[in-house]
């Protein structure tokens, strides 16, 4: 199946892809802890970007509330671990199941009445906001004061509980990013993927070709939500602290969508490229603004906002199609 994916991909593209894979695999052997942590952010952004891209890039639905799934899964897996000693490898299942169930509820509400476009985006924000305010009041997971996973030295090395060093988290994030990329590549060529594209382009025309609009949309929503949930579990055990005001916040939802938008919505490589551009840019901005004494998080977000506006105004298809033609690659993106 993997070999089939590379049918029609130019040799040049194959070489570059293999090169990228080798570099990413070897990275922790040569880089220091800090740079590895930046690469973890890159991989995670590429992964969540891929998940969100399924919804907008493939199925044409704009979600501005994907932080909902990140937060739900993070809280559920962390809660199971802290209160019941259930490790994340097991906890990920109920966490993802809840994300999918909530997404199903949202989809059911939205798709019955053909709520799309702006209305759909607003509904996603509203769901995330309800979760944010709700978790502020759930004492079981710490409420507004935050929920903390114990970081004990005796737990270190328990990879089965995701209590391990940065290298471990790095390879896990890399695995997620690579897996999501391959999954999307398979989906792009599958029947389901073609259904999504048809519905994205013109729902009525798709329907006239025998495609069930709501089923297509729902499948994209559930998959996207479930995938984002897995990132939430990772996030919980990587960061070890959760605050409703951060993980469910609209700014988090926007962080999740920056990479695919900047890289190229609807392309397979866009989320990856976007992640490679954004995470290091963010780190550079933070260190520069920190050095000259400005409000670092504010400046970073401000520059990202300007960047977003510039990309959508100047390069609406994203950077990847440009880079692809610059590198003379044709069929990796689409």
């Amino acid at each position: 199946m993997i070999a089939e994916l590379f049918a029609g991909v130019s040799t040049r593209a194959r070489v570059l892809l293999v090169l990228l894979a080798v570099v990413m695999l070897a990275a922790p052997l040569v880089l220091d802890r800090y740079l590895v942590s930046v690469l973890i952010l890159v991989c995670l952004a590429a992964y969540t970007g891929q998940a969100w891209n399924i919804l907008l890039g493939f199925a044409g639905l704009l979600s501005l509330g994907h932080a909902l799934y990140l937060g739900l899964a993070a809280y559920i897996s962390a809660g199971l671990y802290v209160h019941f000693g259930i490790g994340p490898w097991l906890g990920v299942f109920p966490a993802v199941a809840v994300c999918v169930a909530v997404a199903a509820l949202l989809g059911w509400l939205a798709f019955r009445f053909r709520i799309e476009g702006v209305y759909f985006a607003l509904l996603t924000i509203a769901f995330a906001e309800v979760a944010r305010i709700g978790f502020d009041h759930i004492g079981f997971t710490g409420g507004a004061g935050g929920f903390f996973l114990p970081v004990r030295s005796e737990d270190q090395g328990q990879w089965w509980n995701l209590r391990s060093g940065p290298t471990f988290f790095y390879y896990l994030a890399l695995l997620l990013a690579a897996g999501a990329f391959l999954l999307c590549a398979v989906l792009r060529r599958s029947r389901l993927g073609h259904r999504w594209l048809a519905v994205r382009e013109d729902p009525e025309a798709a329907q006239a070709l025998g495609i069930h609009i709501n089923r297509a949309r729902m499948s994209a929503l559930l998959l996207s939500a479930g995938m984002t949930g897995i990132a939430g579990v990772f996030q919980a055990f990587y960061a070890n602290n959760l605050f409703p005001s951060q993980i469910f916040d609209i700014s988090r939802s926007i962080d999740l969508i920056l990479a695919p938008i900047i890289g190229g919505v609807g392309t397979l490589f866009g989320p990856i490229l976007g992640a490679f551009v954004l995470a290091p840019l963010g780190e550079v901005l933070i260190s520069i603004t920190g050095a000259i004494g400005l409000n670092a998080p504010g400046t970073k977000a401000l520059v990202f906002g300007l960047f977003l506006m510039a990309i959508i105004a100047g390069v609406p298809t994203g950077l990847w199609p440009r880079l692809a033609s610059l590198l003379r690659l044709r069929s990796v993106g689409r």
């Binding site: 029947r191 073609h194 594209l197 382009e201 013109d202 025309a205 006239a208 070709l209 025998g210």
Partner: protein, 241 residues
């Protein structure tokens, strides 16, 4: 054998009667044309058959099975494919992908969908443009793509909504030839709305005339063009216009 039976169907929009007690039977293998002046209710009739909305009264059956409450995707699955009067290609996808999305309804996998799509594009003279994005096509090519995509679903009945409009006479003749081929070789029944009388006279085995939503005549092309009411309400009006 009757493939499609429309029985005393009426549809109103906000009090306005768009389709008024219309009945028609399309036999398997026919080339059935529905004509009438603008606003006669032809496209509404098509939308009723294709399941876009249900009729207020009356029934529609396909192969003896009631379809007047079925959803559009279900109707397509049963074997009725339609084109849109205002073409609706999947603009950001290639011509090939457009046709393959139609073909995947019945193809076992995507590879055979693409193979079937390729055959249909050849038939519609679109093969050379298969890798272009649909939004870059000229209007005649988009009309062809609209037919190709519908045909790719391997329908028993093909509903064509003014596919000749905007074509030059030579292009019309080519489309007539293509449609005739589809009808004869693939034995696909065709129900078409058409304004271009040149095409209707060349193709149709039977013609149904609508005026203000109601039937005023039905018969062979020659019978219909001799009908006094048809001449008065439609052909005459067009001639004076």
């Amino acid at each position: 054998m009757t493939l499609l039976a429309v029985n005393r169907v009426t549809k109103r929009f906000r009090g306005l009667v768009a389709v008024d007690n219309v009945s028609l039977q399309v036999d398997a293998g026919a080339m059935f044309a529905v004509i009438g002046p603008n606003g006669a209710g032809k496209t509404t009739l098509f939308n009723l058959i294709a399941g876009v909305f249900p009729p207020d009264t009356g029934t529609i059956s396909f192969e003896g099975e009631r379809i007047d409450r079925a959803a559009p995707e279900h109707i397509c699955q049963l074997g009725i494919a339609r084109t849109f009067q205002i073409v609706r290609p999947f603009a950001e996808l290639t011509v090939m992908e457009n046709a393959a999305i139609g073909a995947m309804l019945r193809a076992p996998d995507m590879d055979s969908s693409y193979a079937q799509a390729g055959e249909i594009l050849r038939r519609l003279d679109l093969w050379d443009k298969r890798d272009r994005k649909a939004h870059g096509l000229t209007l005649p090519d988009r009309k062809r793509l609209e037919v190709a995509r519908a045909l790719a679903t391997r329908p028993k009945l093909l509903l064509l909504d003014e596919v000749m409009a905007g074509l030059r006479p030579t292009e019309t003749d080519r489309m007539v030839e293509i449609l005739r081929g589809i009808n004869r070789e693939e034995s696909i029944t065709i129900l078409m709305i058409e304004h271009v009388m040149r095409a209707v006279m060349a193709l149709a085995t039977r013609v149904h005339v609508l005026h203000h939503g109601a039937t005023i005549a039905e018969g062979t092309p020659t019978e219909v063009t001799r009908d006094a009411r048809v001449i008065e309400s439609y052909l005459g009006a067009e001639a004076f216009a």
